[in-house]
């Protein structure tokens, strides 16, 4: 790239929806390497659909999605989820709303299942250690089936699974949803503590106060369109200067 910062994700004129319903209206979004981006918006305005569209899980979609320079979008109107695994192998880790967990697997197997790409599979031991540093409560629970964990622990496992992957783009959908405020804040704090390196993270959240001042950029989302870039926080400005 011209300014030396690599683009992880470039979405251009993306529209997506389910059947006759169109939810995303022609939106553009660029995510740079090493940045944390917050997307805020009310219920039903398309935050989750944007993430699902990037993962190829919507009913149909149009428009280009470049992930690490590879086209993963395009015109697609087949059933959802046909190509998701390919997008995931290009370096996407989606942590969806609500916990998509495998009830019967233990926490350890669960983390293993996150490391699906061959490289991540080989490196899964050090990675697991790293994740236990981020989420220390998981260390005691490694042999417990995930189905028996509490909501906060499940969320940690789910995020941990995403972090196990060899991903360059983390999409986190409503990490504080359905959790007690204190636990929600601690989960968010853990997300902020993750060293991104060359990767990027996009967090969708309804509660702006959880994001304010902690992410590099906040973008609003309203009826399927991205509305203006609000509040470039200090860290982002400093990075731009430095």
């Amino acid at each position: 790239m011209a300014d030396g910062v690599q683009e992880i994700l470039r979405v251009t004129s993306l529209s997506a929806g389910y059947g006759a319903l169109r939810i995303l209206h022609d939106l553009d979004l660029t995510v740079l390497a090493g940045e944390r981006l917050g997307i805020v918006g009310l219920n039903g305005h398309g935050k989750s659909t944007l993430f699902l569209a990037i993962a190829g899980l919507t009913g149909w979609q149009r428009g280009s999605i470049l992930l690490n320079g590879h086209e993963v979008g395009g015109t697609r109107s087949q059933g959802p989820g046909r190509y998701t695994h390919r997008v995931v192998r290009r370096g996407l880790a989606l942590m969806p709303q609500g916990d998509e967990i495998f009830h019967g697997l233990t926490v350890e197997e669960h983390l293993d299942s996150g490391a699906f790409t061959p490289r991540a599979w080989r490196e899964r031991k050090p990675r697991k250690a790293r994740i236990l540093e981020i989420f220390p409560p998981l260390a005691k629970l490694m042999a417990v089936p995930v189905g028996r964990l509490s909501g906060g622990e499940r969320r940690m496992v789910c995020l941990g699974r995403g972090l196990m992957a060899d991903a360059s783009l983390f999409l986190v959908d409503e990490p504080s949803l359905g959790l007690a405020p204190k636990i929600g804040r601690s989960v968010m704090q853990a997300l902020m503590n993750i060293e991104l390196g060359g990767a990027a993270m996009v967090i969708a959240e309804q509660n702006v106060s959880l994001l304010e001042g902690r992410v590099d950029r906040i973008i609003g989302m309203h009826v399927g369109k991205l509305k203006g870039e609000a509040s470039v926080s200090l860290s982002g400005a400093a990075r731009a200067q430095g």
Binding site: S15, G17, G19, R22, H25, D26, R62
Partner: protein, 547 residues
């Protein structure tokens, strides 16, 4: 608007009539016709919304509200709506639901079948048609169980078989007359239904389907091995039949055919009664995976399911008795996996959850299976291929084609609209359908096209011309631009505020509301009116180019 040569200079036509400071000649671009402006009509228009075609019958104006209802219900014979044509004000009537007419046509064809049957094929055709009637009735009851009650039972044919065997046994050993057989079948069906319903209260969905398949096989092996039920003769035969032996061969066939047609009509009436009334509606509120919600609404769906299940089992028992009376006995083929597979094929080909689906599916499968006997095992392969194709391509069988096609078309429309990249002030289709004033759609579209054209007129020459002389006569291009700017609505329209006459002016924007002061736009102070005019012009040009 002189010659359109490259020279293209504009001369002030008012020269000599006005004060000397007037500009009398400026360079300008050649005139272009806005109608032929490039890119003018490139925006592809997509149809919005959907109009369904209904034939309008002319009606007598006074009795548009009249409804023909039949006793003892308040149901209407046909869903006819009257109204006045919004354009011509003529009174007209519309048949909103034509299905009763289709049903009547189909029955008329079935009744008139004997007129069209050639003598050579009479035997095959009448046998097939009688089987169609009986199987159609069975499938309607099955549709009640699977579709309405949502219990995926595959043991329907074993209920029929049990009733057929039981009533044939009674007829042979206790000498029951033929008219008693269906009524013997009813309690047998009820008992059998109770036995099958027992696990249905605990098991859900496909566990139950597999279990009933096993029960079916259990019945088959039992019947095949039991001496009482004719394991030696390949079935239990010798029951009394409603078809008298004294009748001629043709007469016997015809009687059997019409009797099974009556059975089919009875099954249809049962389907309509259960599905269209309280039980059916309760169950429609508790579809699969939404049971918890229905229960929270106070619907006892389990009870309703069991009721429907038992009612259909009794009906199946009745059909079983009729089967025994029709074929003078029962055969173990009723329990075979092929029968279940063909029955499922009938339901799936026609379409789930609708009576017409069950009847059409039965018609097709029975027609292939019993009408083309000469093909041997090939016809079963043919039915399997049709079944596979229907299941792979159609969501709801043949009668689901229409809604599926509509859903597909709506999806494609929505997708195609989203490929459209030219917008710029034009209404999106979703907005357009919401707007009450449809003129607004076309006004916005015209406005966009006009702005696209005007953007091409903005050149350095025009700006220079305006700078030199903001007021007065202008070249054609500048005149067009100014005219468009003047038409801007009051809200946010730029205006000039006099800070100090002849010395200081500033640009503000009008609020558009009486009593609300204009708001500041920029800090810059202009020394003369002409400068301020030009400042406003420049802002407007900038806004135009940005829009």
């Amino acid at each position: 608007m002189e010659n359109e040569q490259a020279s293209a200079r504009w001369r002030n036509p008012l020269k000599g009539w006005q004060p000397a400071r007037e500009v009398d000649e400026v360079p300008t671009d050649p005139w272009r016709n806005p109608v032929h402006a490039p890119g003018r009509y490139t925006v592809k228009l997509f149809a919005i919304g959907r109009l369904r075609f209904f034939h309008k019958f002319r009606a007598h104006g006074k009795r548009l509200w009249h409804r023909t209802r039949y006793w003892p219900t308040r149901r209407r014979v046909l869903d006819v709506r009257g109204g006045y044509n919004p354009k011509t004000l003529a009174a007209e009537k519309t048949i909103r639901d034509k299905r009763p007419l289709y049903w009547l046509t189909a029955f008329a064809c079935l009744l008139a079948l004997p007129l069209a049957v050639p003598d050579s094929a009479a035997n095959t055709l009448y046998t097939a048609a009688a089987i169609f009637g009986i199987y159609g009735a069975i499938n309607l009851c099955w549709m009640l169980i699977i579709g309405t009650a949502g219990v995926s039972s595959l043991a329907t044919y074993s209920v029929v078989g049990a009733a057929a065997y039981g009533s044939a046994y009674c007829s042979i050993h206790f000498g029951m007359p033929w008219w008693a057989l269906p009524f013997i079948g009813v309690p047998i069906g009820l008992v059998f239904g109770l036995i099958i319903a027992l696990p249905a209260t605990r098991l859900d969905g496909f566990y139950y389907a597999l279990l009933t398949l096993g029960l079916n096989e259990l019945c088959r092996t039992y019947v095949l091995q039991s001496k009482v039920f004719g394991s030696a003769t390949g079935g239990l035969y010798g029951a009394q039949s409603y078809i008298p032996d004294s009748l001629s061969a043709d007469g016997q066939l015809l009687l059997g055919y019409y009797a099974s047609l009556v059975l089919l009509v009875m099954a249809l009436a049962l389907y309509r009664t259960i599905n269209g009334r309280r039980l059916g509606r309760i169950l429609r509120m508790a579809p699969e995976q939404k049971e918890a919600f229905a229960e929270a609404c106070g619907i006892d769906y389990r009870r309703a399911r069991i009721q429907v299940f038992l009612l259909s089992s009794m009906a199946l028992g009745f059909i079983g008795g009729f089967y025994a009376a029709h074929f003078r006995g029962a055969s173990p083929s009723l329990f075979s996996i092929d029968t279940v597979a063909l029955g499922l094929a009938m339901l799936m080909i026609g379409g789930m959850q609708r009576a017409e689906g069950a009847v059409l599916g039965t018609f097709i499968v029975v027609g292939l299976h019993h009408g083309l006997v000469g093909l041997g095992p090939l016809r079963l392969i043919l039915i399997g291929v049709i079944m596979l194709a229907v299941v792979l391509f159609l969501r709801g069988g043949l009668f689901g084609i229409k809604p599926q096609f509509r859903a597909w078309r709506d999806k494609k429309k929505s997708e195609n609209r989203s490929t459209r990249s030219v917008k710029g002030g034009e209404m999106l289709p979703e907005e357009a359908t919401e707007t009450f004033d449809k003129d607004e759609i076309y006004r916005r579209r015209f406005d966009k096209q006009q702005r696209d054209f005007l953007k091409t007129l903005v050149t350095a020459q025009v700006i220079e011309e305006h700078r030199r002389q903001p007021l007065g006569q202008h070249s054609e291009a500048l005149e067009r631009l100014l005219m468009y700017f003047r038409r801007h609505p009051q809200q946010d329209k730029y205006a000039i505020e006099v800070l100090e006459p002849f010395k200081a002016y500033r640009i503000v924007a009008l609020s558009g509301h009486r009593g609300v002061a204009p708001h500041d736009v920029e800090e810059k102070i202009y020394a003369s009116t002409d400068d301020a005019y030009h400042g406003v012009f420049m802002r407007r040009v900038q806004d135009l180019l940005e829009s």
